[in-house]
Structure formats: structure tokens, C-alpha cells
Symmetry: C2
Subunit: 314 residues, 2 copies
Amino acid sequence: MDEIDELLSIRAAELYYEENKTQDEIGQALRLTRWKVGRLLAQAKQRGFIRIEILHPRARRLPIERRLRDERGLTDAIVVSVAGVHSPEELQERTAQAAADYLTALRPVPRTLGVSWGRTLFEISQHLRNGWATGVNVVQINGGVSLNRRPGTAAATAVGIAQKGGGSATLLPSPAILERLATKEAIESDRVVAGVIELARSADAYLFSAGAADHNSVHVESGYLSIGDVDVLVQKGAVGDVVGRYIDSDGNIVDPALDARTVGLTLDELREAPLAIAVVAGTTKHAVADAVVRSGLCSVLVTDEATALHLLDG
Amino acid sequence: MDEIDELLSIRAAELYYEENKTQDEIGQALRLTRWKVGRLLAQAKQRGFIRIEILHPRARRLPIERRLRDERGLTDAIVVSVAGVHSPEELQERTAQAAADYLTALRPVPRTLGVSWGRTLFEISQHLRNGWATGVNVVQINGGVSLNRRPGTAAATAVGIAQKGGGSATLLPSPAILERLATKEAIESDRVVAGVIELARSADAYLFSAGAADHNSVHVESGYLSIGDVDVLVQKGAVGDVVGRYIDSDGNIVDPALDARTVGLTLDELREAPLAIAVVAGTTKHAVADAVVRSGLCSVLVTDEATALHLLDG
DNA sequence: CGGCCCGCTGCTCATCTGAGCACCATCGCC
DNA sequence: GGCGATGGTGCTCAGATGAGCAGCGGGCCG
């Protein structure tokens, strides 16, 4: 297309999209046949001169979702638009909402849903509607009795999801990470704990998030790890954690000794799950998100547009 | 529209605009009739959920142009899009290009065109194509023999416009502002100068810009005014200058004594012109642009989207 | 110089879309 | 409980649009 056609396509686009003229009217105005106008408009679109955005908190980016499925082998992907987002909190909320929507629409409805805990999961639980399902039983898949001043968000998350879904929650009564391996093994051999983990293994679907390996981690906030611990993990290559287990950019466990002291499902158990839904959003989590998807930790990803593009285009 | 319809309209918009589905297909996907889908799409548009932008340096904003004509009484208005603009220079270039386009398309072609000078005018002259008109004679409408190291841009501007338009230029061989009133009167009584001004008065159309009243003014750069002079003018209410004459926000001369020492057409002569084209763009010029338009200094305005919206919505 | 190829143009025709209209359910009022 | 108003729904039909195709012309090579 030469420059004259390029300019004409812009003039045509102005009249078509801003003035709501028909292609025929535009043809008369620019002294072109209406077919030429149609072709100019098609070229303007194809060359990227026309940008159409859907401005809404619930807007999704279907083409990016398709690319994630096709190029990253995911069963499904939900990508929320970042158009008009001004704060990380808003992004987080949009993503949580989308995850809640996804769960609500999920068919077949899982009878048992394994969930992790954390800020993201808690927000998802808040965005679920009463009656989002009928009879969904929820089971915690990793330890989470909080050690500090915010006790119970782990429990509140699981219970909230279960209650709104007309089912009951089974909590995992254990800390996330124990100080000594022996203690961890003792706890896991407790009949109740072992039973919960067994139930968790049999869940139809898992819903979990991922944390970035930084000082704002919930593990630091909850007192399971010190800031120094996190720094050491980062030095060893950690990009973040999934169900309390820290991984590097290839999805491998960074510190096997620490991992052995962590209570809950293992990452390989997640990888083999029939349905593993990861909800990961925000600039700080680009690296973990990449590790999660590359190493096959999830079959469904709920994320934001920027993170998705990071996964796809590097 | 309740929330459920709002969500549906977003889903429909995603499928329609991002996936290029027909309304009928969307209807099948969402279990709606195609008419319902059409209505949802119409509502999404009408509620502003759909934003369509034309991304191109030559793109204009026709709806804003119409508002300027209707609400500000302009004969014509050209508004360039600011989508994708990253620097003031880029904005300036787009506007100059648009002004050049406007001149080129102007009918009837003016036989005599009065022009001012300055950065904007110079850039317009550069964006005009050879042969943009046949036989347009150009006459300078305000003094402009530059006093400093950049001599001749005033002359180059007029000559450039004339040559590319297949005509000749008549320069006004006089400084813009003289130090003493007597000198100014003497110069104006010079036969050549008087002749040029007489020719300028008879021009079919005028093309000029406006300067902001700040330290970057061409008058400061050219040595006609000191930084202190400008500060004094600003204190008196000056928002900028048109053909070298400083005006306040109502378009009135700020300093009559200074004005009397300024060579060239008066503002009232511009106001009575059959066609006065002002080219004003950039954040720094919002205030002058407002004064120019409000006080009827131009009948045609070439500007950028942000400036135009400032004029319209304050 | 003639013939061939390629791309553009303007057409036909099928499909898609929006305007307008009749119908129906719901609601408030009598 | 009857009745009109109101808003939403699904239709008809005409206008708008896109796909596909024949024809033309300009450029290139033999």
C-alpha cells in the first residue's frame, strides 16, 4: 500500500468509526467506490491502525487466552484486561473476580476442591457468590495455621468458599513449614492430618496461587520464614512459591531440606492433578507465573494481560 | 440494564470485536437471540465500554472538530489525535503536517496568503509538498528580521511556502518590535514597507501561529524581548502573542505602548479577515489558544486533541 | 513488439446488521 | 381483579457489508 492509500485508509477510518458513516457515504465523500473503502478499512485494521479496546473491570482478552492455550499447552486460560487499571490492588481484584467467575462456570462441578491459601485465594473467596455451586466440599492442600496477628485467613478462605458453595470445608490443622523435619513427619503421621492430606490427594480440582520470592511474602508475614531466609532462597534461584514450596525458574524445588519440612501436597502431585487452577497476577509475579506454566504446575491459568504477554513474548 | 446484561454485553463485545464472530454465532455461544446480542453490543458502545482509537500520525478527531465548529463558532477546525504521541516535538510535527494538509486542500486556493513566522510556521513550510498550489503569492504579515544567530528563518518560511506553491514571496523588511515609537513610525512610512503591509492587508487568507508568554518565546530567542520584559507582560495578564502582539485571556492587547512599537497587521485586521488560520498546539499554549479562539482572532483553528478539549471543556 | 503474469478494480451475490413494529409479561393504579 | 402503561422480546425487511470472481491494465521478459 502506498502512502496515498495509507492516508485514505485513515480518512476512511475516521469517517467510519468516529462519524458512523456507511462505507457508501465515505466512498462519495472521498470519491472512491464503496468496495475500495471496504478494502481500505480492512487494511487499516490489518495494519494495526485501528485499536479497539473493551473498557470494563470484567473484560477479558480472548485472543491472548487462545495463545496461552495453544502456545503453552494449557487446558484453559483466563486473561483479564489491564485497560484502565491504575493500581496493583485493582488488578488483583479483577483477577480474583475472574477466578471466581471461572469457578462458578466450571463444569463438571468438582465434588471436592483442594485449595491453598493467601491473599489471592482469600480475595477469590470474597468474590464468589452465595450459591456459586451446590455441595462443593473444600479441602486445604497445604498447611496454614497462621502464627501471627492475622490468624484464620487460611481457614476463613476455605470455609468461605465451601459455605458459599453449599458444602463444608476440611482444614489442614498444621503449620505451613515446620522447624524440624522430625516434627513435620510426626504431624503428617497424625491420623487427622494424614486423613486430610489423603482427602486432598483425591480432590477433583485444585485452586491455588503463587507467591513472589520477596519480603512481602505471606510466609514472611505469617512468621514461617524470616527476611533472611527469603534472601537465601532468592540467592539459590528461587522465583517464588506454590503451596508453600519455593521453586526456581524451571519449576524445581530450590531447597529440598526446606521442602521436606513443608506440609501439604507436593508439586508433583499438583502436576498430575486432573485440574489444577493457578491464579497469578501482578508485575511482581511475572517470574513465578512463568515457572508455574513452564513446569506444568497448572492446567488452567487465571492471570492478567501484562503477565500473560510476559509469558508469551518474554 | 442490570448487572447480568452488563456482563453479557462485555462477553458479547469480546467475541464480536476480538474474535470477529457474527452476532448470530455469539447468540449461539451465549444462548441469546441475535437481536439481543445486537442490542447488548449497542448498549456496550453507548455506555462507553468500547473504545475505538485510530493510531496514526495523520489521524484526526472529527467529532472534536465538529464540536469546535459548533460550540466555538469556527468556520473550520482541524484536530490531530494525540494517541501514541510521546514528545511535544512529535505533537508539533503532527499539527504542522495537518496544517500543511489543510492548506493543500484549501479551496478556493488563495491568490495571496499572509503568513507570520516562528517555529510552527517554519515547520509547516517544511511539510508542504512541492506543487501544493500553483501560483500562491506569500506575504509576511509581521516584522521579523531576526536579530540573532538564527537569521532568515522568517524569510525562509515565507519563501519556502511560496516556492513550493509556485509563487513568490514578499518579505516585510523590518524588525518585529522597535525600541522607539518614532522609529517604528518611520519604518512604516517607508515606501517599501508600507507597500508590503498594504499587500498584506489585501491577502485572501492568513496563516499564523501563537506563542506562549514564557521564556522560550521566539521573541526572547530573537532578541526583541528580554526575559524580564516577558515577566512584566505576564504580570500584566499576557497569555501569549499573535503576530508579535501580546494578549491577555480575553484577547485584548496587554501593553498598548509595546503594541504600538510592533510592526505588522493589527489584531483587528486579523479579526476582520475573510480567512484567518491559526495553528496552535501543545500543552504550553492552551491558554493562548483559548484567548485566540474566544476573541475571534481566527476563523480556522488547527490544533491537537488535548488543546481542543481544553478549549471545549475548560 | 507481442505475450504473459500479477495485482487492482468494480461487479454479483450471499450474509450480516440495524430500524421499525407487533406482541407479551410485568407492574402499578384504580 | 381489571386495565392501561411500560419495557423487553422476537420478528420482518431493507440496507450495509464481505467473499469471491471476471476483466482490465501495467510491467516484464522473450
